[in-house]
Every structure is written in C-alpha cells, then in structure tokens.
Amino acid sequence: MKPDSNTVIDLYRTMVRIRVCEESFIAPILSREIRCPVHLCTGQEAVAAGVCAALEKEDYIFGNHRSHGHFLAKGGKMHEMVAEVFCRETGCSRGRGGSMHLVDPSIGMMGSAPIVAGTIPLALGAALAAKTRNDGRVAVSFFGDGATGEGVLCESLNFAALKKLPILFVCENNLYSTHLPIDEIRVSRKIFELGIPFGEQSHRVDGNDVLEVHGAARKAVDLCRKGRGPVFLECMTYRMHGHVGPDDNIQGSHTDIRPPAEIEKWRRKDPIKRIERHILKKRIASLRELKEIQAQAENEVLEAQDFARNSSFPKKEELSLYVYKN
C-alpha cells in the first residue's frame, strides 16, 4: 500500500528537521561550545524517519551512539535533545548523558548507548515484555554494521526467532564501522542474511529511499503485531560526515579514510533530495511548500539552540543525583 500524501509530507518534514538540526551542531562543535562526542546522522535520515513513521507512540525504540534521528523521528522534543547535546540541565537526560544518551519514555524512546550492540538485547527485552503482556506493542532495535561483529546480536536474533517476539532489528549499514570499511570487518556484505539461519524474515532495502524503508517497516511492524515477528531489516545507507564530529574522514585528510569519489556518489543519492524530487514529480506539494517546511525546521532549530544556550548547566552540588532511584 502506498503512503498517502500527508504521510509523504510528514516523512519529508521529519527528515528535514533531522538534517537541519544535525548540521546546526557543526559550528558549536568547532567553537567547543559543544564538547561531548557527537555522531551526526546526516545522510541516514530516511531510516529513522521511515521506520518510526510505521510505529505508534506506545511502541519502543532503542538507539545507539548515532541516535539524534531516532529520537526526533519517534517524536522526541527537539529543544530537549539539543539541550542535552549542549549538556544542560534542561536536556532530555538532564545533562548527565550528552549526545549519546537520549531518552524519552513518554514517546517510547527508551534510550540509546554507545556500547556497540549494547542496546540490542534491551530492545529484545522490551519485545519480550510486550509479548508477555500481549499488549500489541512492537520494539525496534537500531544498530549499525559495526554491531554485526558483536556476539550478542546473534544471541538476540536467535532468542527473538525462538520466542516469535515482536521486534524489528534495523541495521543501518553505512559501510563503515568507525574507521574500518565493511570489507575489512566481514567476508559478506550481505548483512541481512545474518537473520536467515536463525529463522528470521530478513530483507535488504535502499536505506536512502524513505518510501521503501517506510513500506518495509510497515510490513514488518504489521507482522510483529500479528505475532509473526521478528523481522530483520538491513537499510543500505551512508553517513555524509565521518564517524564522530564534523570531520568527514576524507582520504588525504588526517583521518584519511573515505575516497572523495565515494562520498560524491552518495551525495547524489541524498535521501532528502530524492524524496523532494518524488514529491514535486507527483505534485504532492509545491516547491514553495517544501521551502516553507525547510524554513520552519530552521526556525525550530534556532529556537532549540536558544533554549539550550539559555539553560543552565547542571549544578555541581547535584553531581550525585540519579545514581539510584529513591
């Protein structure tokens, strides 16, 4: 089933909000106003947007170190996320987590963490809880190609299939695990095949085509809700920036990783440009309307940064708060 026009516009808006917000971090990172490690997801917006639009508010998602997009797409408040990246008291994690620890249980964003694959079994457990209660919720685990090197992924794939849990494993394959290209970490590039021996329905989609991601995610979520999960989805994508911060890891620079031609090839596959072309071609919205959405996003980001800058840092005498819940 094709998504209706409103859904397409919503997907576009989500992707633009993520992109503008991500790019707005670069200047304050360079000026050292932002100091926590920031892993930008520019280029990967279609995955977060497409998957989260297939979910209900009550469904659970768990992210990783690169989860700004997941947080926003699931419905997290931008100003709380930006304040967290600025490590302020008003941040979603009250400045105790920074960019890598984004949470808002009220909208099902259950947390994110940079221990590679660390949140995969947590999402597994949320799916187990949903199944035990039979409440129809679905859990999504977002992870990267680097996580395929961790044993806990295989443990989780096995258990999810064994218990038919309502979980969607979403691998965002951006072809690099930090500095290592995928061919240096595994023999096969076909990550989605990992799910097959465990008995999972496993698919690969174009992760830069938000409509394809969304369609696959809707089918997968539907199967999970009917008790016919789990599903493994590999989304082929590319991060336009380097692993962390605004350094683009271009060959010849000091990080010396990615060939400029490769980056250029993926720039032409920019997921936002692609959906823009689709919207204009199908006359779902006019160019003026798209510009309006961009302007709204830019305004929202400016307001979020103002909010963050005007928020105080956590008080130093409150260092020991939150170690335990009393």
Binding site: Y60, F62, G91, C92, S93, R94, G95, R96, G97, H101, V103, D104, P105, M110, G111, A113, I115, G118, T119, I120, P121, L122, A123, L124, G125, A126, A127, L128, A129, A130, K131, T132, R133, R137, A139, G151, V152, E155, S156, N158, F159, L162, K163, L321, Y322, V323, Y324, K325
Partner: protein
Amino acid sequence: MSIKTRRLTYSLAINEALTQMMERDPSVILIGQGVKSPWYVGNTAQGLIKKFGEQRVIDTPVSENAMTGAAIGASLAGMRAIAVHPRMDFMLYAFDPIVNEAANWSYMNGGKVSVPVVFWGVINRGGEQAAQHSQALHAMFSHAPGLKVVMPSTAYDAKGLMVAAIEDDNPVVYVDDRWLYNTEDDVPEELYSVPIGKGIVRREGKDVSVIASSYLVGEAVKAASTLEPSGIDVEVVDLRTVKPLDVDLILASVEKTGRAVIVDPGWKMCGLAAEISAVISENSIGCLKSPIRRVTLPDIPAPASRSLEENYYISSRNIVDTIMQLVGADLKI
C-alpha cells in the same frame, strides 16, 4: 497479629519469595538458563512454570549476555524481571548489560528511567569443580555505581532479601550460595522483606568484631562458640547487603570491641574485605587495639582436587585461628 513461621530451607525460602511475588505482581518474570531444571537451580524454581506459565518463567538458550540484557529491557518496559545465573561464573558474559547498561541507565538518563531488575547469581563452589564453577564475584559488581548487592546468610534473609530485591526500583545483584541451600531457619509464611543496606548483629560480644557475609556468617558464629570456653567474647556482624554497606553498624561494633576480623568468601585483592578495612581505618582507627585482619580466599583460582580445596576454602577453623592470633596474646590465653 501473630506471625506464622515454620522451619524452611534456604532454597525453598527463595522459592517462596518468587512464588509470592509472582502471585502478587503480574509484572514479575523469571528468566534464565535452567529454570525448568533442578540440575541448575535446585528447588528454588519448583512449581513456578506450572503456576505462572512459560510466558513468565522463561528457560533460555545459553546466551547470558542477551538474556540478561533482555531482563533489563523488559524491566525498562514495565516488568520486574529476575535474571538467574545458576553459576555465577557464567555471569561474566553478562558483565556488559549489568555494568554498562543497567548500572548506568538511571544516571546517564538523568533519572528519567530506572531499572527494577534482579541479577541473581549462585555461587556454586566445592565438589572438585575447579576454577570456573566456583567463583564468588560479588566484589566486582560492588565496584560499579548504580548497582546494589545483597548476600543472604540465612533462609529468613534469603526470602526477605529476594522480596526486597524484586521490589527495589534499582538493579540489585542477589548473590546466594549453594552451600546454604539445605540450611534451615524459622521463616514466616507471610510476605516480608529484609531492608537492603542494613546489616545485623548475629551474636553480641565485647572482645572482637567478626564482620562476615553469606555462608561465612554461619562459620563465624561457629567460631564464636568454639572460642567461648576460652573466654573470648566474639561479636558477629552479618552484612546482609554488601552494597550499600551498613557502615554505621560496622563502625559501632568495631568501636565497641576495638578489634576487627573481616571474613569474606571472595579474593583478597581489591575485595570486599579490603573495602571494609578501609572504611574502618578511615573512621575508627583510634579505637583499634590491634591491626585489622582479613580472612579471605587466597589470590588463587579455585582448585579441583579435594586435597587442595580443603586448604583453599574458609571454615570456622581459619576464623578461630585468626582471632586467637589477634586476641589471644592480649587476653593472655
């Protein structure tokens, strides 16, 4: 209101805690390897599957990392999960979800979420099982901020601390000991809890404080009885909770007796006994009549052969010897 008690073994006291908590709260689930099999968990889980079904009592593949992580995730999603590790040694596969995720989760998310999960690890030493079927790893977990660690020494505490661990909104590592499973105690039939973070004086004395936990509390009490005819009056403090330590209780006892022997079923280096020794030194060194002594496992892996095991594990005899060395000269015994 009279409280009805009867003699119950330690393992059945755990079973009763699990049964009553699962009856009372539908969000309580038990997950881990061997919950179907007495081979793994003794009789601690008997009858649970029949009563609560396989949706809530979940036997699992051998996947400690994912299963423990799943217990955490389920607890984040509204359940109160107990992840059981029938041999604590295997729990090291789950160090990441326990220490990196559960322990940090509340803090690094600014207190927006907490993890009401229990990590139940069984120490299963002796019987020539060698180095990987014998380890007492409570000190490792006690090192991490965000965790609580309890070590019940009696059947009464085994039930009460399991209930408290399940009720707690924070991750609790519950460490019990197979050597205690057949010991008996008066255990109330009703649901009750033993407060986490509070120790108890098991035997009052004035000459020396023996601070112990888990099965060594019983050995310490035995040592105290052995020494009674010699006129050495031993106080035995049962920690009950290893983290957070009941510092007030420890210091009050040591300030009264002026001597401390710390008995720990774990290794010496960076161990629980070292921490307690430091706490006493920092706060009450002026009260000490003699140096603090530690009775711990040597910094050696557990051996298999019975001839070596006998020399490895701590018994009341080691505690008696240490107290005699410490107090005997002073009291001219």
